[in-house]
Symmetry: C2
Subunit: 251 residues, 2 copies
């Protein structure tokens, strides 16, 4: 059993806490959270603390807090044992400023408290300073997920940018689509099958091969007609992404 | 049995031809296609023609050709019977210029010849000039799909714009994410679970509720760090969509 202490109380901590409890190879010994207002979100059977000088002894300390707070928070960790990892996609390993050994455990998924996740299917990108720690962290990650990759700090930063496009930005396209539907009393449900298929195609085609529509065909008539019916931010986005698609197929 | 003649040889015609053959309520009597080069894509058991003056008698004539060609092509249809429908999301009903009764049969899906579709799950937006035709077209549509909506020409045009955002533009976000992965030797497979989850969330949350990430939190540090690593089109898109997301959560 790998002993773990979790530090944090946000969306990522919430899903990690659940995954730790569900794994038979992990002993979830303590949960540090400063924000006691969130206590109701978490299992009360797990020992909890809000003081860093009462941290339990563990093999791995997982910091799941805001990116900005990682450095200053980790400075306060007075540990002479164990491996301290953060869970951020955009922070390098050396953002950790504690004396203990350091690593990164980045679960590449979009976490909302209100939506359950099968953690076994969440890709985990891991990195450590030394090889022995890597073995421990890999064993830990494999106790939680089937999909574990070694990714260094530079790659992880790029991966995080790619994930912002793949997740946050595609989701904003869905949001704008829903705004348009709402404005004209059209059910957003009409679009759900095409959204599912857009993603379903990626199992057999890459995104470029899967592309269709007026911008791919550089169908100026349809593009101009659509632009004439949009305004403000929607129009700007339509023009920019259409141009990007058209360029994709020019080359 | 509703007798149908299909006119066209593109992606939409390809999937319609398959769906017509699979439906037990539809008698697929003839397939008109000018482009004989594509004959190999279609079932040779269906009677075919490339001359409009040899069109078979049918209840419904489905025109699945490029938007631009619909008006001029429909003018050449010398029919004194039946219902002529086009399949375009962006063209109004009166783009049809034939003497016969007119309607629209718009299957809201992204069609690639290389990817099979379960047509039963494709939403069909239908419209006719008169009520009697509507009954026929609705019966026809329900023979092909479980999901049939009455949508007028104005709504359909907006729906098509919404579909461009939901499908083509979200897919371009995946394409850019893959470009970034490729550049840094990261497997695009790492992103597939987050992409699936982005769409999976829409079953229980609307896109605004499902949003996460640096732009939602207006995390300027991460946003600026990402922007500093991007250039050209990718940078422009990152800035514009991030601002759109941040604005979504300001209001």
């Amino acid at each position: 059993m790998i002993k773990v202490v979790l530090l944090g109380a946000g969306n990522v901590a919430y899903h990690l806490a659940k995954a730790f409890q569900e794994s038979s190879n992990i002993d979830f010994v303590q949960h540090f959270r400063r924000n006691r207002a969130k206590d109701a979100d978490f299992d009360s059977n797990i020992s909890k603390t809000d003081r860093l000088n009462t941290l339990a002894k563990a093999d791995i300390y997982v910091i799941a807090i805001n990116d900005d707070a990682i450095s200053s928070f980790s400075k306060q960790l007075d540990l002479d044992h164990g491996l301290v990892v953060h869970t951020s996609g955009s922070m390098p390993l050396n953002a950790l400023k504690c004396k203990a050994n350091k690593g990164v455990f980045y679960p590449l998924q979009t976490f909302s408290v209100t939506k359950n996740i099968n953690f076994k299917e969440v890709p985990i990108a891991i990195e450590t300073e030394d090889e022995k720690d890597f073995e421990l962290l890999e064993q830990f990650a494999r106790s939680l997920s089937h999909i574990v990759y070694e990714i260094n700090s530079e790659q992880r930063e790029k991966l995080h940018i790619a994930a912002v496009f793949a997740n946050n930005f595609s989701n904003q396209m869905f949001k704008i689509a829903k705004d348009i539907c709402d404005e004209y009393a059209i059910s957003f449900d009409l679009l759900k099958p095409i959204i599912k298929e857009t993603v379903g195609k990626l199992e057999t085609l890459n995104p470029k091969q899967a592309q269709t529509g007026p911008a791919k065909r550089n169908d100026r008539k349809v593009i101009e007609k659509h632009l004439s019916q949009l305004s403000g931010e929607q129009k700007e986005i339509y023009a920019l992404i259409s141009a990007s698609i058209t360029r994709t197929f020019k080359n």
